[in-house]
Symmetry: C2
Subunit: 574 residues, 2 copies
């Protein structure tokens, strides 16, 4: 492509509403433009990046025997009423009426439409497994669209849905999709983790999210430094500390802690680590037959955070997890929340694994203004129920048994999910099995945020000059910059020659032939993130030399004009 | 592709709601499925056809320096209010509200969005011309969606918009798009005509429609048998008949025509051709200063149809064209509409060119129950205003001066249009010209109905066995049918060998490896319209022979197994 023939829409100013770097650079590099809140137009260079993502996704999906089809954006309400999602789905579902006042929605996802199709088209277990995907425009009416492409309202998604006669078959396809996603994100050149998202109702690893690691991510990902284990922090198991609990060394005694409201207050007053202070949280337990919820105490180390998902799953704890209020605590224990402790506490008490490993610890004395120090389990307080109650922290041993955990932020770009029969049961999607019996199909679904990947790739690859595209994503792989090419025939000729040779080789190359100052061309090509740059000017040509620079290189190299083609081809192959 | 790995969704029954052949065959061949009225899912084989169309459109648009971008489906109302189309556009525009009760619509077309983009991005005449296109999902809420993909509600369209500093530049790009469209439809292998659609306000040929010729088309296209002239019947000029008008041979006399209400009644009663009877239609003329509309008479041959578009454009005729009612006619002439004639008619009378060429004709006597015969212009009736008032008919001389006109039905699949400044003026889209002066950009727009082409191609290419795809459109170019391939190793091996060799050559090939009876495989591949078919069975293989048949061939040919690959490659190149 000649730069003079395409819209180079770079801008100097960072747009006021762009909070994250990808949003800023997408606008500044002229890749997208905002039409309205959460709605973006893809400009020519941006669309090329989007298509590059689509191409890799499509090739890998095809290679895994998934079949591409294309379902409508506009969907009739009737199907959503069958599954009950018409009522359940909130305001994110954009509902509309046609001219005959019939109800429709803009598809945020297509489970209903594909299940309707498949229940009509497939009738025998012999036709299974079958896996269908589309790359398509979706709409979700986000309450607060922001971060540019990261949380838009209209976006491009690859969604796939698989159908099976039994769960073993589903699991096999799920594993195949896991492997396919891994290949896709590898080919995209992204630093990513496949993250255990939910153990779900089917059991096993029923759901994984694929996250691109980047500081601006909205999720905390815990991953092992020695294996491919990764999980959302909420999902990662905190293993019991290794070794025996240290023997008691102190005797328990009461200490005045006036005005201490928090663990950190107590730790500073007593000049000890927060880890030595145990905190006790009071929640509502499971309701009895009369509907009354007894109180339950949860004990954690002062430096750890309660994991509500884990707590909620424990027998005896009420759902949803609800903290007891000050009055309930006062009535049951006789003190305020900041002074509770497990010694002689008159209720079911569940102790976190790490808290259970503590000795000579400090805790509330169940009396306002006082704590106990030198407390030890079993000797001073009952150690009955032990459970994993907390979020993991960096340095924890990995639950997989290998290495220790690091925690980084991640941007979710993919999600695979063993749906089971949720949709097929509601919509009566059955096939005949080997014995001629109707069985409900079991389903998987597999999403990739195609347009979001463009933003996530930028969050992971940029510097102060702009974007640094991974080669596979770049709108152009090579930029040829002619210095005063419109005035120098020698420069123009050398540029044209290289441009044509690279194009003939199938390389996506942009020749910046604009009548612009060199500085503008350099800045634009760097801002746009073109991985390889060749600069051709009169001064170099006098000695038959041109300049090569990789986007991440700090310095450029002089290359003999006759060798530049081979050099570029070599760099592209690396 | 192996047939066992993809959804072959052929059906025997013709769906009850499918009126036209393309709709029937799209369903029967398993290419699309209806989700709701006017909404279709593209099944895997159908999507391949759609993508083939997209590919050709994209390649030719790129080659003509048009730049691809992608605008949102959902558009804010504000832009449509700027051009006034929010109010003017009828119920076809699907309006919706987001969660904040802001107004949006689903884009049926993107003039507003692109003009908004360009007024912000371009500022100088030096950046022009610029031509942007997208291939995108559109939505039009048709009052009566029908004919399958032909008139759906959600569909795929290629829309392009060009911007210019002056009309000469617009005309040059318009011509380039005309040539590009011609190449596109040629590459698609379709019998089409570029049709003059409207002479518009800019003058010259400001709009062309591209029509695929097919009996099921909704438009009548008149085209020359000796040139590339083609026009909508409404737009084609009816030239004055050649030669002098014949001299008067009869004297004028009144003849009783009781109960004759129509030209055909009069012609049968008098036993003459309808062409000999002139009919006179009374319409409302242009309003005077007081708002009164005088009556105007239009005289045509009895066998010709009034062309309302032509009539409306004449000086003195009111817009929109309105027929006078019986009362107005009675009051002005003293008779009912069936008995009017141009002899001594007390109003402006405009005579069609062909009617003006008549002699010894019959016409109403301006007296109920009577006609005049042996009437001649000038002698009996004034011949003042002569104009082209009628639709052309087959056999008319072509207005281009070469050949005579044929009339066929056409399906509109493309439309190019010199928009001028309609949108840019309303939206204040300007650039600086050579003199640093703000000028309003002038615009062109260029549409192709991508999904409609799939249907139109079928309307033009089918037989009683199913679709016959032009090679460039076919979901698969070659079908390999194995006879009992699941039982015979020799057959399976020969099929696999050919399948792999063709695939390696980049040929789109489907190997029907299903455990189905041969008859089902033959029928499916014919119904799906695969252009080339190779059948491999045990009986042939004994003599190292296989069978080849082109989809349009009546008989198959025996080919030596060793030569089948070369034969197929040769056929594909033809």
């Amino acid at each position: 492509m000649r730069a003079s023939k395409t819209l180079i829409a770079t801008v100097k100013e960072t747009p006021a509403d762009a909070e994250v770097i990808s949003h800023q650079l997408l606008i500044r590099a002229g890749l997208v433009r905002k039409l309205a809140s959460g709605l973006y137009t893809w400009l020519p260079a941006g669309l090329k990046v989007l298509r590059n993502v689509e191409k890799i996704v499509r090739e890998e999906m095809d290679a895994s025997d998934a079949q591409e089809l294309l379902m409508p954006v506009v969907q009739p309400a009737e199907l959503w009423q069958e599954t009950g999602r018409w009522q359940k789905y909130g305001n994110e579902l954009c509902r509309l009426k046609d001219r005959h006042q019939r109800d429709f929605c803009l598809g945020p996802t297509h489970e209903e439409v594909i299940t309707d199709l498949i229940r009509n088209e497939l009738s025998s277990y012999k036709q299974l497994p079958a896996n269908f995907y589309q790359i398509q425009t979706k709409f979700r009416d986000e309450v607060r669209p922001r971060f540019g492409l990261m949380r838009g309202r209209e976006f491009t998604m690859k969604d796939a849905y698989s159908f099976h006669a039994d769960d073993d078959c589903l699991k096999a396809t799920y594993q195949r999709m896991f492997d396919t996603y891994t290949r896709i994100f590898e080919r995209l050149g992204l630093d990513f983790r496949a993250v255990i998202a939910d153990t779900g109702s089917i059991g096993g690893d029923a759901s994984h999210e694929f996250h691109v690691l980047a500081d601006s991510g909205e999720d905390d990902i815990a991953f092992s430094d020695s294996s491919d284990y990764a999980a959302n922090v909420e999902m990662a198991e905190a293993l019991p500390p290794a070794g025996e609990r240290a023997a008691a060394g102190q005797t328990m005694e009461e200490v005045a802690t006036p005005n201490c409201k928090s663990v950190s207050d107590v730790a500073s007053l007593l000049n000890i680590e927060e880890a030595t202070v145990l905190k006790t949280l009071i929640v509502l337990g499971e309701a009895d037959e009369a509907g009354k919820q007894p109180l339950v105490a949860l004990v954690l180390r002062g430096d750890h955070q309660l994991n509500e998902i884990k707590a909620e799953k424990l027998a005896g704890v009420g759902t949803p997890l609800t903290m007891a209020d000050d009055e309930q605590i006062k009535a049951a224990i006789g003190c305020s929340p900041g002074s509770i402790g497990p010694v002689a506490l008159p209720m079911t008490t569940i102790i976190d694994r790490s808290a259970a490993h503590a000795s000579d610890f400090v805790c509330g004395a169940n009396k306002d203004g006082y704590h106990l120090q030198g407390v030890n389990w079993q000797r001073d307080a009952e150690l009955a129920d032990i459970a994993d109650l907390r979020d993991v922290v960096a340095g924890d041993p990995s639950p997989c048994g290998n290495g220790t955990l690091s925690i980084k932020r991640g941007i979710e770009v993919g999600h695979i999910f063993q749906l089971g029969t949720t949709y097929s049961e509601a919509m009566n999607a059955t096939v005949l099995d080997q014995n001629g019996k109707q069985v409900t199909m079991t389903m998987g679904c597999y999403g990739i945020g195609v347009s979001r990947i463009v933003a996530a790739a930028i969050e992971q690859n940029y510097d102060d000059k702009g974007i640094i595209w991974p080669l596979q994503l770049a709108p152009y792989q090579v930029a040829i910059i002619g210095l005063n090419n419109h005035k120098s025939e020698a420069v123009s000729e050398a540029c044209e020659g290289l441009y044509q040779r690279l194009r003939n080789q199938g390389v996506e190359v942009i020749y910046d032939d604009r009548k612009e100052r060199p500085g503008i061309k350099f800045a634009d090509m760097e801002l746009m993130g073109i991985p390889h740059r060749v600069v051709i000017g009169d001064r170099g040509l006098k000695e038959s030399m041109v300049e090569y620079k990789g986007r991440r290189d700090s310095d450029s190299q002089d290359i003999i004009l006759d060798q530049i083609f081979d050099t570029v081809i070599e760099k592209l192959a690396q």
